[in-house]
Amino acid sequence: MTLRLFLNVVSLEARKAISYRLAFWIQAIVAVIAGFAIPYYLWTAIFSANPEQATIGGKSRDGMILYYVIVILISNFVRGVDMGLGLSREIYDGSLTRYLVYPTRYVVFKYAQNIGGLLPGFVQALFMAALFVTFLQVPAGVEITLMSTLQAIVTIAFANLLYYTMSLPIMGVAFWADNVWSLAVLMRFVAGFLGGLMLPLSAFPEGWIQDTLRWLPFRCFYDLPVSTFLGKIEFSEWLQALGLGAAWGILFALIGRFVWSRGDLRYTGVGI
């Protein structure tokens, strides 16, 4: 796929994403309010019930809330646009055929759509971030620098690509099953829990559980970008985590390629 075509697809999807503008903004604002309110009240209740405990998993109450604020702002970019439902529908109604005759690869085309669907969210994220910066205080011990911000942006882009790559084998199952929506949701649950969306990984029991979590790819989704942004991670550890994530990404890309090559042979275009 040429860069020009890629950018055209991105632009088209971005315009599609804001076609229902009111819904787009209401949904974003309420999602952020609810997403912020829950951890705010939850962790305030936990810290209030245990006044002798100044930190949990190395985070104070304010540190914990800041963690969730960043997670809320980045989570949509990491997960991207849900592609599972789209492919099963395209296989079901035969519209996958037109992608197969396009002078580009389906996976790359869909990735461009994924990026385009996320672009308008950047404006929302910047707006929400400005609000939070105005009202929230950065707790002591947190070092947000230009370097950590740039590293975090790279990590988020990497996390989005990794999430997409891990979704490929799941999407490919649609060649055999009628609906893979439940598998995509399942992945979201697991990634959310083991990746740091529901809880910071430092809140998990220390020992083998935290050691295992560090070796899994899910860490790259939420915990790594936030820790990077807050300057809680050394440069060498960051590189190591990205390297491990890349290894998982290659593994899933290979599995995805295998599933797709087998599934492609089963596909029978109907209609059009």
């Binding site: 229902y20 009111l22 819904a23 787009f24 209401i26 949904q27 309420v30 999602a31 609810a34 997403g35 309110a37 829950i38 009240y41 939850l42 305030t44 209740a45 936990i46 019930a49 245990n50 405990q53 949990i56 998993g57 055999w176 099953a177 009628d178 609906n179 893979v180 439940s182 598998l183 949701v185 399942l186 649950f189 697991v190 959310g192 829990f193 529901m198 809880l199 809140a203 998990f204 029991p205």
Partner: protein
Amino acid sequence: MVRYLRLYAYFVRFSFSRALEFRTDFFFRVVMDAVFYAVHIAFWSVLYEHTDILGGWTRDKIYIFAASYFMIDALHMTIFSNNAWWLPIFINKGDLDYYLVRPVSPLFFLSFRDFAANSFLNLLLAAGLLIFMIARYPDPLGAMNIALYLVLLFCGFLIHYMVYMMFIIPAFWTHTDQGLRDLFFNIERLAEYPHRVYTGWARRIIVSVAPFALMTSYPCMLLFEGGSVSLFLHTAAVLAGTFGAMVFLWRLGLRSYASASS
């Protein structure tokens, strides 16, 4: 009433035969919900490693609360979820016409016609979990309390359905449920936590205008602490208010419905 029950039995029978044609999807749904339950239980377990009490409830209580939430979710997924998914599509395509001319309440027909047989197994799983959590609770809960808890839980399920419908029905005007459906699921997450975790205005809102506390938190409060007249009156008032609001919105929506055919 008998006619409606007989009709519902036909819906269920038809849904089961259709679900068994798509066995892989059936299996995936079961796995998905089993993982959903496991993730939630694990979440609470990790949280209770850092505290003994949350919103006034101990670990054993929160497990019953979580299982109650699974029940509401499983009931919703089994009975209403598919129907609510189709409603905006029917409105957009004009297919609503077919339901408006039938000799049964269109709201009943459109809310109940698609029984998700593939979620039914998860309902059994959620019920099993709830029974297990209640059975392992260290203190006696009392048969009367359990019976009243089940009544309130059923009311909570109805409130969940009606509030959800109020987010779907605006499709008559907006022609899409895209934003509103996501909006509901974002707000609904408030019901995943005990209402006493919230304070001030947030708590006032979730027991009144956005009555998510009444879905699982209030029934559990009754189970652990016993019921009171005010608790039942509060639930009855919210139930009646939500029902009235949903029916009003539905009628208003039908008046705006222009059909898409001819």
